[in-house]
């Protein structure tokens, strides 16, 4: 039995049945990490000692017949912008190279309480800004599918760690596509929940009205299981929601069923804009094929329209950078993080520390965002973007009156080679064409593997209405099953 290839559900069952000990599980994954990490580099830091300790604790619980948490024995990678007491939290930046949080994020507390085992902190684009994980201060992460390719980003380390079987599950964050796009590029499942479903307390803000915490798994069920575990109201996060419909996304007693059971009668909208834009024809074809899979499983597919989709990227760009400029102001070298060695005045302390410790992409976005919040033209753009955001929300609202889910490609851009976009920062942004509007509207979405295009992984995005996670998971389970059955 190859432990690292087991699904989260299988591991849980085997621990329940005492076929496996948590220590076996952790050791197998640590060995896998030992084997893979020098090539993949999915992690910034590892948590070996603590992981073995938690495993032993779980094993003694099993021996004593104590109740076990829902994530029991599951090895988990945590994106390095989610704060943890047991290890550093760098955000992939020189700024926080040695930053040690004195507290755990709420999702970390939840994982620990649920008997999940944190193996380490995963690599990411600096402060989650990027779509290739190449802006990390700690080096690139390779795509386990093809080492020449980027893993996507910003949660590239989390996606790669799951794909390479270094962990069973991982947490990422998604502000404009940072879970779904790397999931798509690394051929795994990634879910970005509705804004407010999962607590952001302890998650270092990038653009705080768009940021969400989500999950990666090698199949839909694993990802859904993990998402169920971390969902729920948190009084420390004023934007988390008290009792959204369907907080319990998936029960304890899930069983694999015939995919048609999930899909039959489902109403699916596909935006016509995807076929009208200058979108890669191969991508459009692939979407057509995916639609056929759903149809053959008994879904009703209808063409819908998202007229403001074309403004999504610009709107996202303005709102996210504006929020970034404010959220990253606290990294000033005064209380924690990097401080320049040379300075004589307070202003110099700020300027030198921030100039020396932030990478180019971060600086670029801070400067743009500062402009968009400034009086005059800048603020005009920002206010316009806020209006467009409302229009985009309304577009989705209209579609969801009649449809259960919306299908799009996760990314219009196929996985690209490492180093390719370093010189052309704006082309990377195109990857979030279909993902960022979902964040603007606070909806939930999943990227689910949908085969390959000329050997390159392709992900299908399933978008659901706010707090209708159950719909995208049903759709994902059905589609996954359909693909497995060779449809």
């Amino acid at each position: 039995m190859d432990i690292v290839k087991l699904s989260a559900l299988e591991i849980r069952e085997k621990i329940y049945n005492k076929e496996l000990s948590a220590r076996d599980v952790v050791k197998a994954h640590l060995e896998q990490i030992e084997k893979k990490e020098k090539d993949i580099h999915a992690f910034i830091s590892l948590n070996k000692e603590e992981a073995l300790k938690s495993a032993d604790k779980i094993d003694s619980k099993v021996r004593n017949g104590e109740e076990l948490g829902v994530l029991v024995g599951m090895t988990i990678g945590i994106k390095d912008n989610i704060v943890t007491k047991d290890s550093k939290t760098t955000c992939g930046s020189k700024m926080l190279e040695n930053f040690h949080s004195p507290y755990d994020a709420t999702v970390i507390e939840t994982i620990k309480k649920s008997d999940g085992i944190i193996l380490g902190k995963t690599n990411m684009d600096e402060f989650a800004m990027g779509s290739s994980t190449e802006t990390s201060y700690f080096g690139d992460t390779k795509n386990p599918v093809n080492m020449e390719l980027v893993p996507g980003g910003s949660s590239g380390g989390s996606a790669a760690s799951v794909k390479s079987n270094e962990v069973t599950l991982s947490l990422g964050t998604d502000t404009g596509g940072s879970i779904r796009q790397p999931a798509s590029y690394c051929d795994v499942v990634g879910i970005k929940p509705s804004y407010g479903l999962v607590s952001r307390y302890g998650v270092v803000s990038m653009a705080n009205t768009l940021d969400t915490v989500g999950v990666f798994g090698r199949d839909v069920l694993d990802a859904a299981l993990m998402l169920s575990a971390i969902s729920g109201y948190d009084k420390k996060d004023s934007t988390s929601v008290k009792s959204p419909n369907g907080t319990v996304i998936i029960g304890k007693d899930v069983k694999k069923v015939d995919p048609t059971e999930y899909i039959k009668g489902m109403k699916i909208g596909v935006p016509k804009e995807i076929f009208m834009e200058e979108i890669d024809k191969r991508v459009q074809e692939k979407l057509n094929k995916a639609m056929k899979v759903f149809e053959s499983l008994g879904a009703h597919i209808e063409e819908v329209s998202l007229p403001h989709l074309k403004y999504g990227l610009s709107t996202y760009h303005i709102i996210s950078t504006a929020e970034i400029s404010s959220n990253l102001a606290r990294f000033d070298g005064v209380r924690y993080g990097y401080r320049a060695k040379e300075y004589t005045t307070l202003d110099e302390l700020y300027v030198n520390s921030r100039s020396e410790a932030f990478g180019e992409e971060v600086k670029r976005r801070i400067m743009l965002g500062t402009y968009y919040l400034s009086k005059g033209h800048g603020m005009d753009y920002y206010k316009k973007a806020l209006k467009l955001r409302t229009l985009i929300i309304e577009d989705f609202g209209k579609v969801f009156k009649d449809q259960d889910i919306i299908l799009t490609p996760t990314s219009p851009v196929l996985p690209f080679e490492l180093g390719k976009t370093k010189k052309e920062p704006l082309t990377k942004d195109l990857t979030s064409l279909f993902t960022s509007p979902v964040n603007l509207a606070g909806l939930c979405a999943m990227s689910v593997p949908c085969g390959t295009i000329e050997g390159l992984p392709f992900g299908l995005q399933i978008i659901g209405d706010k707090f209708k996670e159950a719909n995208i998971i049903r759709a994902g389970l059905g589609f996954e099953g359909g693909m497995r059955n060779g449809l």
Partner: protein
């Protein structure tokens, strides 16, 4: 024609909530540096604010107290700027929709009542505190970081430093009445910035507005305004203008000093703070707060006139401070003589408070002891002058009057035999005075009485002494 001074004030008031604005750290003043802190109020990565409902309630109380309108929908915004006392690179404040708008405070001038209008009251968080050491280091204490504040902004409607002082007194009294702040300027729980300029009524020429900061007392504020008023006028006289700048009041040099020039309007890049939902204030809640609001100064003054038959002036003084009005009402619970109690408080008690620049609650005096003292005087156990001495002792030591009287043997001598002995002795020693009196110099009696009182250590009943001196001289 002359000059017209224009003064507007911005007042920051720390709200006396138990916990800070966005976390559960204590909002107690002081404490060892950086001990009243948590990830939220020092702005650690990942931390998020959760708004303190009591702070909002207090802001609404203030709004009701100052006749403002309360916005049904408001929100928290970020004011972005960098400073070492600011932990997040932005201050959570309110920009375009403050919690309260409008309102006014009435100040009582010599012969009329003037309404000073408010522009707005908004909620925000306080910053940390910087201490610059002599060797050039700056120490930062974040205990104050995240303490809830309201900022009250007036319209520029005050025309003399005295009007500004009256406004500040009334503002402080009202805030203390409604119980939202202890308003201690020395602890920084009430801070005041002044905007001032002067218009030449003849030419219409106006000076640029000067902002004065670092005012630690009302007295300092008045002095600073008076100083600035003169400075602006003398510049106008020379045909010059002031620089648009921020100045601070230097208490030692007794003058204002340039802090920084205001080059253009600062751009704080205000934007809504997405970490908190918009705040909706239901009318029912406002009404509930209104109905639970303590009696305000004006209503109390009217009631004192009615209930205790005090003069308008006395009632006004007694109700100007919440603590003083409570002290008065507590005292008359022990001695049913409102006029006498009012006289004592209006006289010696207030004089003492004024001399020491303290509030009644900061002294050793308590209502029960004051009532006992007044009873001692009223029942002639001690005389009025002794009473005053005892009061001083009560302020100094906090002892109750009975103890002081007993310890110092101050019980009034009403025993004629005892007084007779002293009078006898003094008369023997002052033959000349007796002669003077008999020659029609009435002043001599005053001298003799003084000597007798002195000899009795002030304990002899003065009326009795007066009567006996004359009787006994006549007997000689």
């Amino acid at each position: 024609m002359g000059y017209k001074t224009i003064i507007g004030l911005e007042i920051h008031v720390e709200l006396a909530t138990k916990t800070k604005m966005f976390c559960s750290c204590t909002n107690a003043f002081g404490g060892e540096a950086n001990t009243h802190c948590c990830p939220v109020c020092i702005g650690l990565p990942g931390s998020m604010p959760v708004i303190n409902k009591t702070a909002i309630e207090y802001a609404i109380r203030a709004g009701i107290g100052f006749n403002s309108s309360i916005n049904a929908k408001t929100k928290m915004d970020r004011k972005n700027y960098f400073y070492a006392d600011l932990v997040k690179g932005y201050q959570i404040s309110q920009d375009d929709i403050p919690i309260c708008e409008g309102g006014y405070i009435e100040i009582e001038m010599q012969d009329n009542i003037k309404k000073i209008h408010l522009q707005r009251i908004h909620i925000e968080e306080d910053t940390g505190k910087l201490t610059h050491t002599t060797d050039g280091d700056t120490l930062i204490d974040y205990n104050r970081s995240g303490v809830p504040l309201i900022e009250i902004v007036t319209k520029p409607e005050m025309n003399t430093p005295e009007e500004a002082r009256l406004f500040l007194e009334k503002l402080r009294a009202t805030l203390k009445y409604i119980g939202v702040s202890d308003c201690k300027m020395e602890e920084g729980s009430l801070r005041c910035d002044v905007n001032i300029n002067v218009v030449d009524l003849e030419t219409g020429a106006k000076t640029n507005i000067t902002e004065i900061k670092n005012l630690n007392s009302f007295r300092g504020a008045v002095k600073a305004m008076e100083y600035e008023e003169k400075r602006h006028i003398s510049l106008l006289k020379e045909g010059k203008n002031t620089v648009k700048e921020t100045r601070r009041w230097d208490e030692v040099k007794n003058q204002t000093i340039t802090m920084r020039e205001k080059g253009g309007v600062a751009d704080y890049r205000f934007a809504v703070d997405g970490d908190m939902a918009p705040i909706e204030i239901e009318n029912d809640w406002i009404e509930e707060i209104r109905s639970n609001l303590p009696e305000l100064p004006h209503a109390k003054k009217e009631r004192f006139i009615r209930e205790y038959e005090l003069s308008e002036y006395d009632s006004g003084v007694l109700t100007a401070s919440k603590a003083l009005s409570i002290f008065f009402e507590e005292t008359i619970k022990y001695i049913d003589d409102s006029k006498l109690v009012s006289n004592w408080i209006m006289g010696d008690v207030l004089r003492r408070l004024k001399d020491e620049e303290v509030e009644i609650e900061d002294t050793n005096l308590n209502p029960k002891s004051l009532a006992e003292l007044i009873s001692l005087v009223k029942s002639d156990k001690i005389n009025n002058n002794t009473g005053k001495k005892v009061l001083k002792e009560m302020f100094d030591t906090g002892k109750d009057p009975e103890t002081i009287v007993k310890e110092q043997g101050l019980i009034q001598i009403r025993d004629e035999g005892a007084i007779r002995e002293i009078v006898e002795k003094i008369l023997d020693e002052n033959e000349q005075s007796i002669i003077d009196y008999k020659n029609g110099k009435d002043r001599a009696i005053g001298f003799l009485v003084g000597q007798i009182m002195k000899a009795s250590k002030g304990k002899a009943n003065p009326q009795l002494v007066n009567k006996m001196v004359i009787d006994m001289i006549n007997e000689r």
